[in-house]
Amino acid sequence: MTLPSDLRDLTIAEARDALAAGDVSARELTEAHIAAIEAARDLNAFITETPDRALADADASDARRADGKSLGALDGIPLAIKDLFCTDGVQTTAASRILEGFVPPYESSVTTRLRESGTVMLGKTNLDEFAMGSSNETSYFGKVENPWRRDGDNRPLVPGGSSGGSASAVSGRLCLGATGTDTGGSIRQPAAFCGIVGMKPTYGRCSRWGIVAFASSLDQAGPMTRTVRDSAILLGGMAGFDPKDSTSADMETPDFEAMLDGGVKGLRVGIPAEYAVDGMNPEISALWDQGKSWLKDAGAELVDIGLPHTKYALPAYYIIAPAEASSNLARYDGVRYGQREDGADLTELYENTRAAGFGPEVRRRILIGTYALSSGYYDAYYLKAQKVRALIARDFHDAYEKCDVILTPTTPGPAFAMGEKSDDPIAMYLNDVLTVPASLAGLPAISVPAGLSGDGLPLGLHLIGRAFDETTLFRAAQALEDAAGFDARPGQG
């Protein structure tokens, strides 16, 4: 095949084919990305770069291929790994001071699968501290920049969060794909802000083992890529049953790529009126209408559906997620790993360690979660939120009697400037208003870049599928991508 002048412009699918044809080596691909990462350090997309490891991975891949022992589609593909996945022998921080210098003696199940598929690890990407945030401004290792700028305005914009480093790296062509994790929108929202494809699989599809836990009933790993096809390929390398995660689904992983071009003829696409939230940016409404037309023109049938409890998803989430986080983060005690601050007695050692190790947003969420779980408030907040969660899941269950996938916008607006929302927690939380409901219901969902705002920033459309029906979700996403023909690229000012 004819290679592009810059190897970083290859998609994963194209790189796979070029590697198989012998037109490019894993080392060449990897060297191009290492150079790009060095040149783009201003983005602060990586917390830890691992160029030596990447080159060793690449050489091993090339040697395997020369031996006729290629491991498949992902062998030799350079990826970035969100710094929430534990990586054996490579610092893993969750972007928190409390884990600075932590070097896991084990590898997460998802990255183990990726290693066994022959992928090349370029480094560990930045994120909001403990994945708590929607702008990647809460990282102890500094803010991440979005490679995009508004037309005629050079102010740095946030990449979204929490998987902001991964989104920025994929968008800025610092890797061919990246892993992310999504608790309430942490893959899909940054994907929309950076003009890439971000996919959250069904809860249980990817193992959570070895991923630093935020809210265990919601956390899911997923792929961040530049195309829907790449998303399907990368998910294939990440998903699969794992006995080490008690909520991992014991089922076969389908060939997600095989059905991609099936089209949407006859597919019933649900349109929930409740997603037209108050104050929705008119550009987002227009994009949503455009998305409906695209799918209709491709042969899909639009169906009006009701998801009546949508409005309550975000407040329910902001009880459930902090409650689970306050429990999960109890392990950071300054005794077994991580940073320690001394104290006169054991309690003071805990209190000092945690006060110094956690940033303001993490402290705030631990306090909310502890409050919601504390005696006297448990029923009013935590139990209430769990009941609302059940109603939200029921809404989706009822809606899927009438439709096969659901189409919504991904975010209420495009990427915003750094500092613009960091003083108002609730304004920040509202970023996830359209992505949180699918998280609470454990459903697979994907954001596809679909257009530009008036000032030149990418906007995403969001599809939500039935549980464990990623195949249909990808098929609809491919139709959307084909119709949108999104080919804009970040200009960096």
């Binding site: 003696p105 009933s217 790993y337 104290g343 945690r354 705030r364 631990i366 009941k387 609302v388 109603l391």
Partner: protein
């Protein structure tokens, strides 16, 4: 419900999180705002609704009760701030 300063101090103690005197008041205001916003959940009728703890509709799997790991104290304590003789260390707890 407004979260007052005393509640912040009590909850911070439960969470083993030191909150400096001058921050307790600010945090009380922030938490009151967030909790006040969350209280819109009270509008939802949840009578007779079972609380949902997990979307994974499955029973926990069983495995044979046997040792599958161990014998690696150096690896286990490698990241500890103050490991001693293959053990974790804390300030004296019992006099």
């Amino acid at each position: 419900m407004a979260v007052d300063r005393e509640t912040v101090v009590r909850v911070a103690r439960l969470a083993r999180l030191k909150v400096p005197e001058d921050e307790a008041e600010t945090l009380a205001g922030e938490l009151s705002n967030i909790i006040g916003w969350i209280e819109q959940l009270d509008e939802v009728n949840t009578d007779g609704v079972e609380p949902m703890a997990s979307v994974a509709d499955m029973k926990l799997r069983w495995r044979a009760d046997e040792v599958t790991d161990g014998g690696i104290p150096d690896k286990v304590t490698a990241n500890a701030p103050d490991p001693q003789n293959g053990m974790f260390s804390v300030p004296k707890v019992v006099e």
